[in-house]
Amino acid sequence: MSNLKHAFNLTLFLFAVWLLLSGHYTPLMLVLGAASTLLVVFLAIRVAIIDREIQPVLLKPSVLFYWFWLAWEIIKSNLDVTRRILSPGLPISPKIFTVRAGQKTELGRVTYANSITLVPGTVTMDIDEDIFTVHALTQAAAADLERGEMNRRVCSVENVF
């Protein structure tokens, strides 16, 4: 039952993307768009990837709030990494360490891992269940991540998915 709902949501989402891309709203194009959407949904069902992880969750308020927080983090660390790259002494202190991810679902963990990678200064190198190996450009960036604020925020967003 819930699979049907997910398939329906995916159909709506894909058709919306088609309408946004297309820009030609003649009957023929709309029919082709609907046919394309249905074909893609059919293929997606065949590969059995219709589940809750495929949901377009970007627009829920708490997720949106997380994006803004992440954007701010990215800006801050960008400025930091930029300063280090440009200073003549190249003041970096690379470090490899592990963090524990508190998320329950795969999508949650992937969100956390990709958020870590998106922020310059830290890159997720390896994921073993809930243990992430992270490479940090500086000890400071590592310490920042180890404080675990991002982990907590992703955890609280995860429930919305």
């Binding site: 891309l21 297309s22 820009g23 893609v40 590969v47 495929i54 891992a113 990709n114 994921i127």
Partner: protein
């Protein structure tokens, strides 16, 4: 002026890449560099206003051919063999040919010269006739699918032959489901992101397919993007899982069906009393007929291209990580 500057810089970068490709012995590095070469030349096509070519170069040059070259290198060796003889003679031949070619360009019209022969012969007719008779905003599509319909049919046949050739040479073997593969189970990020993107890539391919009339795009590019979607799925979930959705059988049918759709449109127009591939006969209104014909043959092209690329990919990859075939 500005475009000239960018052109020249891009040409310079292309030359640097070319020299580096010649110098390198590692075939892997060469593959990476050819991918960059494709990206750069696609940017060059954009500056030259050749949008459709740029799209094709992006999809085929930077995407599919890199993947297929890698698959080839994976089946052979990573290192180019050291040449057995001094490269003096080949160098001479190349320099002489290059000099002859450059000498030849001295007589060519300047870039963008409106009086160049190429702009005086058929091009003006295409440009004038397209809006009235075909009614398609993208002239490239009307030239490709209508004015030069025979030509394109030939190209599709070439692609079909390539697919048939790969099938004949490499044969095919269907992989059992390999979702238990521990290596694949590990790549969580790739799997989740693939889940998100697989439907989007396919939808985008269909968008490119059906909007070829209005902007850059059409069957060739769409077929490649469609196949790329499945290749991404194969990379994340293993070849066996993709073959479960699109088995060889389906691909072979698709490969033939595409060409048959194309030829079928031609025959249909003959049955209706026109010439082979004379689309305007297909509907009461000639413009609608042209539209319909172009759409159908583009669809045929897209189906064949997607099927052939997947056949080639399956053929190459199913040979890897596997025991050598019985005959060795």
């Amino acid at each position: 002026m500005e475009e000239h500057l960018i052109n020249n810089v891009l040409l310079g970068l292309l030359m640097m890449t070319g020299f580096a490709i010649v110098r390198m012995r590692s075939l892997l590095a060469v593959t990476m560099l050819t991918s960059i070469y494709s990206l750069l030349s696609a940017s060059l096509f954009v500056v030259l206003d050749a949008v459709d070519v740029a799209l094709t170069e992006a999809a085929i040059g930077a995407g599919i051919s890199t993947i297929l070259m890698l698959a080839t290198v994976a089946l052979t060796t990573d290192e180019e063999k050291a040449p057995r003889h001094k490269p003096l003679l080949p160098l001479f031949v190349v320099v002489a040919t290059g000099a002859a070619l450059i000498y030849g360009t001295l007589d060519m019209p300047h870039y963008g010269d409106p009086m160049a022969p190429i702009h005086l012969h058929v091009a003006p007719t295409y440009l004038h006739v397209t809006p009235e008779e075909i009614g398609v905003p993208n002239v490239v599509t009307s030239v490709l699918a209508s004015f030069r319909g025979y030509d394109t049919l030939g190209e599709v046949t070439v692609i079909f032959t390539a697919g048939a050739g790969v099938l004949a040479l490499l044969g095919y073997r269907t992989r059992r489901r390999n979702s238990q593969n521990p290596e694949i189970r590990k790549m969580v990020v790739l799997r989740v992101i693939t889940k998100l993107f697989f439907p989007l890539i396919l939808l985008f391919a269909l968008y490119v397919q059906f909007h070829g009339d209005y902007g850059p795009g059409g069957g060739f590019q769409a077929g490649v993007i469609f196949a790329t979607g499945f290749i991404l799925y194969a990379l994340a979930y293993g070849l066996g899982n993709v073959q479960r959705i699109i088995p060889y059988r389906t691909l072979r049918i698709m490969m033939v069906a595409g060409v048959l759709i194309y030829i079928g449109v031609g025959i249909e127009s003959m049955l209706l009393g026109g010439k082979f591939l004379e689309y305007r006969i297909l509907a009461d209104d000639p413009v609608t007929g042209q539209h319909l014909g172009i759409m159908l043959i583009e669809l045929g092209v897209g189906i064949t291209v997607a099927a052939v690329i997947l056949i080639i990919y399956y053929g190459f990859v199913s040979r890897q990580h596997q025991e050598p075939p019985e005959d060795t």
